[in-house]
Amino acid sequence: MNSPEPQIVVFSCHWCCYQIADLSGAAQSQYSPDIKVNIVSCSGRVGIIDLMRAFENGADGVLVFGCLEDQCHHQNGSLFAKRRVAYVQSLLRGIGLGEKRLEMYNLSPAAGPKPEEILNRMIEEVKKLGLSPVKRVGKP
């Protein structure tokens, strides 16, 4: 993960967002090869340490996709993810990496932004912030 292009890590909920990713694929959207997508059973499965490790391993931006809060297949998973994302954002602010490098979106196939729109937005944001000063710090 030492490419000059921004490295974006995505944690994507299997229930809502993976289906969206499928639809986007059918529409022939192209993801940048510098985007790594981790499919999880629920956005609530994404732990604080998972987000921290993504940044430790060189991610310039991290996205978490979860279901709409009142439509989470596991009841409260996306709500828990939202709280963890908020906590990690405070840590990123505290260490000087910047909270804007981490965002969570609640997606629905029926309406709202599409994953590729969000990805492009994050890539633009990261380009404004600059590549992460942290590269390959922790355990591989």
Partner: protein, 229 residues
């Protein structure tokens, strides 16, 4: 349970500033339960500190380890070899654990990563409240199982003070009036007449006010009390 809270990241960064190799040591008991210093919190803190020093352009190494409890010699002795590789230890344990490490390893610099707050219970996951101040003379059988020393803002032995409003203490609407709780409990138990007995002025010598405390269990084989007996 001893309830503690991790220190703010900025304070921890200042503490580790003078050291290059630090062992972040978690505690698998109370500190884990209150999300202050368990294995997970050790990993998160280590990750944050590694990235912070990298951004600052410095070189530091953070080791991670968690022991079952930091208040027992047999568990903290596990780290004796690891201490040879570090300049300082950052225990994420209560004040007991931090001091146990300092006492067991007097040549090791100890940096407390956690603030020890109170003795309390878990009301629900993520919410802890104080229940005991370790006064050394428990009299909760007189007050329906509720401790006025810990839970009354004035630690009144003979309450209420009359300052409560709607069952809430005058210091804050978020704090229940302990004496309201006591009265409610005694009514439910049919023992309200217990309050007719006035408690005498309390002997505080059994509490921390009487100085640092120690208990020697007289029947343990091998300890000094047994030898003297």
């Amino acid at each position: 349970m001893i309830i503690s809270e991790q220190k703010p990241l900025e304070e921890i960064r200042k503490m580790v500033a003078d050291y290059d190799k630090i062992l972040i040591l978690g505690c698998g008991t109370c500190a884990t339960v209150c999300f202050a210093g368990g294995e997970r919190e050790v990993a998160i803190l280590a990750s944050a500190l590694r990235m912070a020093v990298k951004i600052d352009g410095k070189e530091k190494v953070f080791h991670e380890h968690t022991v079952k409890r930091q208040c027992e010699w047999e568990f903290i002795d596990e780290i004796s070899e690891k201490l040879k590789e570090v300049d300082a230890v950052l225990p994420l344990s209560c004040g007991i654990g931090v001091q146990a490490i300092a006492e067991r390893f007097p040549n090791c610099r100890v940096l407390p990563g956690v603030n020890t707050c109170f003795l309390g219970l878990t009301e629900e996951a993520g919410i802890w409240s104080e229940r005991c101040v370790a006064c050394g003379n428990c009299l909760v059988h007189e007050t329906g199982g509720i401790c006025p020393i810990a839970r009354c803002a004035k630690s009144l032995s003979n309450g209420p003070c009359g300052g409560s409003v709607g069952g809430k203490c005058e210091i804050s609407p978020d704090v229940s009036c302990a004496w309201q709780l006591i009265i409610d409990h005694l009514v439910a138990l049919g023992q309200l007449d217990r309050l007719e007995e006035i408690q005498p002025p309390r002997d505080w010598s059994s509490s921390h006010s009487g100085g640092p405390r120690k208990i020697v269990y007289p029947f343990q084989e091998g300890n000094q009390a047994e030898v003297e007996r």
